[in-house]
């Protein structure tokens, strides 16, 4: 498995962590000044989604390949609530998160019986079922046309300007991130890491592993729902894209790209992917008549590159280097260990000359 970077981070002096949190908060607040505000909102929503996935992938060792089901069903739910009831959008988003959690319960109960690639397959299969239902149930989802005209209600405030909506939506995402952080740094979070490292041993210590997996799956789905609901309200639109399997794949890529098991990494991965895709969508790169920036290609290439170059992901690698600088031994074996014997051989040669 990948570096247990969150623990490395925890081992950093408190000051470091405070700096990181304040820095992150500052960036979040400044974001719509720096980049196009709707993209800023996209980054925040996807960052929360990626963090939610990381609770499973990085902290519990479960690869869900069906999280589009929660993001997408939440998008439709938030849209429907906002359109039908005219409720303030945070209420719609919260309702969406609840629906995602309810949907997650049966899926989790069946999926946790499997591990590894079979777990991924079960989640994917369920997500495809959700996609199928969304495609058929036109009355609710609008089918291929999507659910249009989702209002951004908030006590009569005019949030039609994406710049202002960003600041209305940001607190929701921050609360979601705070929940994820709390879960990771709780007794429950400790058990999750134990399950990731050795499920059988966790059971022999009295932990009902499947129940823990179901719990974290539902929490993860809830946070994904929060993100998906926010995304749909931000766009005023929920489409089939939201429940399509590529959305599940995209969030996995974001998390792995940033470095699993780090929370920060997921956010960085989300920011990078959203920006790159936005750039490619607005200014495609053509080789002759072929647009090589078709959906997913460049993202895929970046992904492959990062995984090959930085086994721990972007953030994981940074944290690892920081730690090496400070001469803190790593928890896991790494390549530098193999260079030591070579260095030790040198003195043996020296006396000859």
């Amino acid at each position: 498995m990948t570096a247990l970077v969150f623990r490395k981070l925890a081992a950093m002096p408190r000051l470091w962590r405070l700096v990181a949190v304040l820095g992150g908060l500052l960036i979040a607040l400044a974001l719509p000044w720096l980049i196009y505000p709707p993209i800023a909102m996209d980054i925040v929503a996807w960052a929360l989604f990626a963090v939610a996935l990381d609770l499973l992938l990085g902290f519990t060792g479960l690869l869900s390949f069906g999280h589009a089901a929660f993001w997408g069903s939440a998008a439709y739910t938030a849209g429907t609530i906002a359109i039908e009831t005219g409720a303030p959008f945070p209420v719609a988003v919260l309702g969406a998160a609840v629906v995602a959690m309810v949907l997650a319960v049966p899926i989790a109960l069946l999926a946790v019986r499997r591990t590894g690639i079979y777990f991924a397959m079960v989640t994917l299969a369920f997500a495809q079922m959700v996609y199928y239902v969304a495609n058929q149930w036109r009355g609710l989802t609008g089918g291929e046309n999507g659910l249009q005209g989702i209002p951004k209600n908030l006590f009569g405030l005019d949030l039609s300007d994406p710049f202002y909506f960003y600041y209305a939506g940001l607190p929701i995402a921050l609360i979601g991130l705070l929940i994820a952080w709390r879960v990771v740094h709780s007794p429950f979070g400790r058990v999750l890491v134990a399950i990731r490292e050795n499920p059988a041993r966790s059971r022999s210590l009295g932990y009902p592993v499947d129940r823990y997996k179901v719990m974290v799956f539902v929490i993860s789905a809830g946070l994904s729902g929060l993100a998906g609901g926010l995304y749909a309200v931000s766009h005023g639109f929920a489409s089939l894209q939201e429940v399509y399997w590529t959305t599940s794949g995209k969030v996995v890529i974001m998390t792995v790209l940033g470095g699993i098991g780090t929370l920060w990494g997921s956010m960085i991965g989300a920011a990078v992917i959203v920006q790159v895709e936005d750039y490619l969508a607005t200014s495609g790169i053509h080789i002759g008549p072929v647009n090589i920036t078709g959906p997913g290609l460049i993202t895929g290439l970046i992904f492959v590159g990062v995984v090959l170059l930085f086994r721990r992901g972007v953030w994981g690698t940074v944290a690892h280097l920081l730690r090496r600088r400070r001469h803190v031994p790593d928890a896991e074996p790494h390549l530098s260990g193999t260079t030591v014997p070579a260095a030790e051989q040198e003195p043996a040669v020296a006396p000859k000359s």
């Binding site: 709780s186 059971r203 719990m215």
Partner: protein, 254 residues
């Protein structure tokens, strides 16, 4: 079963087959309350498989397991652990990336309801710190408490296994070759430790080192080909010609 007959563990006709191969064959084992009960037998006799049945990691093909008058046949490992049965594993089975401190904290937390609390800070675990230190001290690992388990030497991992099992404060302790891979000194420390902790619990011990068995066991059960060959005190068993034969036969076959 009548709980007053003093048996903590009682199996009846306990069997386990793997695709036609019977690893544990109609075992009727009775472990008396407060005993140190050794399970010996040649390699492949079914000792570890029997442990896996007793702790719920394997489901029996046939037979029944009673724990203090309660039928636990088919119960899950976590449930059996919570009923007070802890085990150490023959093949070291740890959380490689976690520190020893975190290991023992995890085990101590295993007997509480704290694990489900995802809304409180993990700083509550500091209340286990002192006890974790004591346990690590008992097995001679207190100086390595901040080290990831993956970096320990083999014998030290065995000792950590023991600390984890002890942290659960079990009524029944199942130890699968606790001294395997240990040096003389550590073997002695482990024997001493078992002697100290046995006062208020029952210990079932799989052990190849016969001097350890001689020094600790009240009862010895000899397994061969998944069946109970004989049972008695160490001296009774040692002089049994079938046992000598089994060990010699086992060696030559291996």
């Amino acid at each position: 079963m009548d709980p007053s007959d003093g048996a903590v563990i009682k199996t009846a006709g306990l069997s386990k087959s793997f695709r036609g191969f019977t690893a544990v064959d109609r075992v009727d084992l009775t472990v008396a309350d407060g005993d140190v009960h050794a399970l010996v037998g040649p390699n492949g006799a079914g000792k570890t498989t029997l442990f896996n049945l007793l702790t719920g990691f394997l489901k029996p093909s046939a037979g029944q397991i009673m724990l203090g008058g309660r039928d636990i046949t088919g119960s899950s490992p976590e449930r059996i652990a919570r009923l007070g049965v802890a085990r150490s594993f023959q093949i070291t089975n740890l959380f490689e990336q976690l520190t020893l401190q975190q290991h023992v904290e995890l085990a101590l937390m295993g007997t509480t309801k704290l694990g489900h609390r995802f809304w409180v800070s993990d700083r509550v675990l500091t209340k286990f710190r002192a006890r974790a230190g004591e346990l690590l001290d008992e097995v001679g690992l207190v100086r390595q408490r901040e080290v990831p388990a993956g970096t320990l030497a083999y014998g030290q991992k065995r000792a950590l296994e023991l600390a984890l099992a002890l942290a659960l404060d079990p009524a029944v302790l199942l130890l699968d070759e606790p001294t395997a891979g240990m040096g003389m000194e550590d073997v002695e420390r482990t024997v001493e430790l078992v002697r100290r902790i046995r006062t208020d619990r029952t210990v079932v011990l799989v052990e190849h080192n016969m001097s350890v068995v001689a020094g600790l066991a009240d009862r010895v059960t000899v397994l061969q080909f998944g069946q109970i060959l004989t049972e008695g005190t160490y001296d009774e068993v040692r002089s049994d010609p079938r046992v000598i034969e089994a060990y010699l036969g086992g060696e030559s076959a291996a």
